[in-house]
């Protein structure tokens, strides 16, 4: 009888410890995106044709095709798992895209296939939302100030440039992803892709002006693997 009590206790301890140490799934891929060479200087945007937006900016805004940070870092690079993870169904929380000061905020918005996309106009002027996909369907909608949010979705993965025809300097990007493992590099070039189960992955980094690069990474358990990307800057 004493034996049995000890075995049950041991078993219970084992189970409890297994639950306690299980935790979220494993590994992380993180790193920095930088450039080499000399990138083109961002150009000043003249918003004088839209005074209601021009007055929102104390100094003129600059073009966002290439945004750099300290130590040659590259911002707005979409880093994502392009192979090794099965496609995931979309979350129901909408991804938000704002038109403010005649700019798109954020400049690059990443979200999943079939995830709701909520587009809002926070300006005093009309905008038309005109994403220009090649694979998904092209539509073009007017959104006057005070309109309710426009809810859309895309059913195929693609990088889609977004423009407003009324304000030709406005430029943004939609990154429609197949799964939830993506990140956008911040001003210091850093990105993190957590919660990766053990496996072989292809990590791809995409920049709207400099193209894309991929690297293969294997995650064994819960380690953090560092992956850095270096893009060749173009002078134009």
């Amino acid at each position: 009888m004493k034996n049995r009590r000890i075995t049950t206790a041991a078993l219970a301890a084992l189970i409890i410890s297994a639950i306690v140490y299980a935790g979220p799934a494993g590994g992380t891929i993180s790193g920095k995106v930088t450039y080499e060479g000399t990138p083109a200087k961002p150009k000043s945007i003249d918003m004088s044709k839209e005074p209601s937006c021009a007055k929102q900016h104390a100094t003129p805004v600059t073009t966002e095709g290439v945004v750099t940070g300290p130590n040659n870092s590259l911002e707005n690079v979409v880093v994502y798992i392009s192979a090794g993870i099965p496609d995931e169904s979309a979350p129901s929380t909408p991804a938000k895209f704002d038109q403010k000061g005649c700019q798109y905020i954020p400049h690059v918005l990443a979200f999943q296939v079939n995830q709701p996309l909520e587009i809002v106009n926070d300006d005093q002027t009309s905008h038309n939302i005109h994403p220009r996909p090649m694979i998904n369907r092209e539509w073009n909608k007017s959104q006057p100030p005070g309109s309710p949010p426009d809810i859309e979705k895309y059913d195929k993965p693609e990088f889609i440039p977004v423009k407003c025809n009324i304000h030709p300097w406005m430029s943004g990007q939609f990154a429609v992803m197949k799964n939830s493992h993506y990140a956008i590099s911040s001003n210091d070039g850093g990105f993190t892709l957590p919660n990766l189960p053990p496996g072989k992955y292809t990590v791809t980094a995409w920049h709207e002006s400099y193209g894309d690069q991929s690297m293969d990474v294997t995650i064994a358990g819960s380690e953090t693997k560092t992956v850095n990307f270096v893009f060749k800057a173009k002078p134009y």
Partner: protein, 288 residues
């Protein structure tokens, strides 16, 4: 008395099954029904390579031999984004939309009005151009816009339309007189990145996709996909839309319409029309 033997039943069923095969084959193709005709893609192919491919291209991608010389490139059937539709922005047009485009042509472009082609020809062509894009198999055309009956024309309707033209900021591209000279007009590009002008209401009577009040109502509700002209369906209510149609007709100062006549009978309208009327010689020199 003859009885049904198992053998004869089997043969009958086999024959019945076989007779369904042709139906299955056509069921896999997308059907085209336009006007009173059903399209046939094989006949359409003959017609396409006789009449259309010079502009629309061997692959239907709008990159035909003539295309480099055209300002406003021919329609790219591979992308299957169409300007003239009765369906919402981002959706495929109906067969009747495509039929109407072939019949009418597209004003101020190189797409002629193909009245030389019979109704059957046009339906066949539509069947064939659908083979250029997988979209036709994957999705159905959008739900056609319901156009309510046009309400009575009144001065108040025109005035409400005038207010809407300001509020929706149509003038940003189309200009205050609707001449296509608004502040954003010079920077507009279409989806081929070619410069494109907004419609100039003062220049004539026909629009890109038709010439009636219903056509005008439809155009700004569906938008012209592939161009800067967006859809306003989410932001105008049907009666507001009719008000806007009535006002837009008054911008067409060279085209006699009931709306223009009514507007001219008011003091404000008469002043605006007098200021907007083009002056100059018939040959065009000195036109202001």
């Amino acid at each position: 008395m003859r009885t049904l033997t198992t053998n004869s039943v089997r043969t009958f069923l086999a024959l019945l099954a076989v007779s369904f095969l042709p139906a299955l084959a056509t069921a896999q193709q997308v059907q085209t029904h336009a006007g009173k005709w059903t399209g046939n893609a094989d006949r359409g192919k003959q017609l396409y390579f006789r009449y259309c491919w010079g502009c629309h291209g061997f692959r239907g991608d709008g990159a035909g031999e003539n295309a480099p010389y055209l300002n406003i490139l021919p329609r790219n059937f591979v992308a299957a984004t169409f300007k003239c539709r009765s369906t919402p922005t981002g959706t495929l047009p109906t067969d009747q939309d495509l039929y109407n485009t072939i019949e009418r042509g597209i004003v101020n472009s190189n797409m002629p009005s193909w009245i030389t082609l019979t109704g059957q020809n046009r339906a066949d062509l539509i069947s064939f151009i659908k083979t250029f894009s997988p979209r036709w198999m994957a999705e159905k055309p959008g739900e056609p816009l319901h156009i309510p009956a046009e309400p009575k024309l009144t001065v108040d309707s025109i005035k409400r339309g005038q207010a809407l033209f300001q509020k929706l900021e149509c003038w940003k591209c189309h200009g205050q007189e609707g001449r296509g000279d608004g502040p954003s007009a010079s920077t507009l590009t279409d989806n081929n990145d070619q410069p494109i002008r907004p419609f100039n209401f003062a220049a004539g009577s026909r629009f890109k996709c038709g010439s009636t009040n219903e056509d005008l109502y439809r155009i700004f509700n569906t938008g012209l996909d592939g161009t800067p002209m967006p859809s306003f369906a989410d932001v105008v209510k049907p009666d507001e839309a009719w008000d806007l149609v009535h006002y837009l007709r008054t911008l067409q100062v060279t085209h006699k319409s009931p709306e223009l006549a009514m507007w001219e009978s008011t003091k404000e309208g008469a002043a605006l029309i007098a200021a907007a009327k083009p002056h100059g010689t018939p040959t065009g020199s000195g036109v202001r």
